[in-house]
Symmetry: C3
Subunit: 141 residues, 3 copies
């Protein structure tokens, strides 16, 4: 029988690339779904945040932040800021590049992540935010 189950992970973030390891939260939802096999869709709600996987240790997390600062500098001029004045044009561009979705296979009740591969939520906004990450499991018993 098909199972579809979803839940939300709520986070308080600091913005500016704040990166949260949400692997445990996604795992809890995947287990609560009661599906043995299927897909786990992880989705960052909002246009200034993203999800990806990374080895969650402070070094790599900072390396990714610095790379995005180089590619999409916070201090550069953005048309979005001229029009809207909220100063987070760089946040929008970083999020559009990194994208909000990630899909992880669920096999025998476990997500198919590598040993050093964690699921992270990255908040690119320029201020602290309350965030929702939507986790949707589609599978079978």
């Amino acid at each position: 029988m098909a199972i579809v189950f979803s839940d939300t992970i709520s986070l308080s973030t600091k913005g500016l690339g704040d990166t949260a390891d949400i692997t445990a939260g996604v795992t809890r939802i995947a287990e609560a779904a009661g599906a043995k096999n299927g897909v786990v869709a992880v989705f960052a709600q909002g246009s200034t945040a993203s999800v990806t996987t990374i080895e969650y240790e402070p070094g790599v997390v900072n390396d990714l932040k610095k790379t995005l600062e180089k590619i999409v500098p916070a201090g550069a001029p953005y048309e979005h800021d001229r029009a809207w004045g909220d100063g987070n044009g760089f946040s929008h561009v970083r999020a559009a590049l990194m994208k909000p979705s990630l899909t992880v296979p669920l096999i025998d009740g476990k997500m198919a992540l590598g040993t050093w591969q964690q699921i992270v939520f990255i908040d690119f906004d320029n201020r602290p935010r309350e965030r929702n990450v939507i986790v949707q499991v589609v599978g079978v018993e």
Copy 2:
């Protein structure tokens, strides 16, 4: 009962980063599927286009274009162009970076998008194109 439903959004684009808001089209297909909960897979068919989410206003759309022009300049030399002569090496690289797929959870009949988060199709090719975006809903009633 499991529902799988798919339809195609056809677009005429101008290429060169032309960005179309396809949220309404994807929403129509998601509603036509008759699923209450599930995932909505959005897929850009072709190797010179992508889908992502963004706050769809002209400022951010241009900011993303400029960032991609900086990262993957149209005027730089590309091996693809030396071999194939169609001059769209930069288009291929941009599309491979931005990727063709996006997966959005469907919850109680509504996609879990944020208020200012639109689904966009970006055509990176160097000429106008006729394009197909495939939308596939997998869920339950």
Copy 3:
């Protein structure tokens, strides 16, 4: 009836951006699943590899490698390397940017890829690796 089917593609890679066309392997698994319609989730297991689509010809494959070398240079200093000493900080950042997942709609038994759009696995690590790509089909007959 809902069908969920998964299998693994095992690869020996050379690292350093080594790019393998896995379209035939993913197609075989999609066909073996026995689903007519659904989604095919392709997932790179590990934190230094990614999947995307590209026109698989040597020119574009090299162009993408060079772009990633420009954005995330192998020779730059990374905090990950100072802490862990394995010298693959650039590999982790490239993989986090490119992300490990891709979702392709399956329609009438065929993946909805464009004619020149191949699914590739890219190994960003700094040494040869044995890799697993997980392919999960969720669909209906």
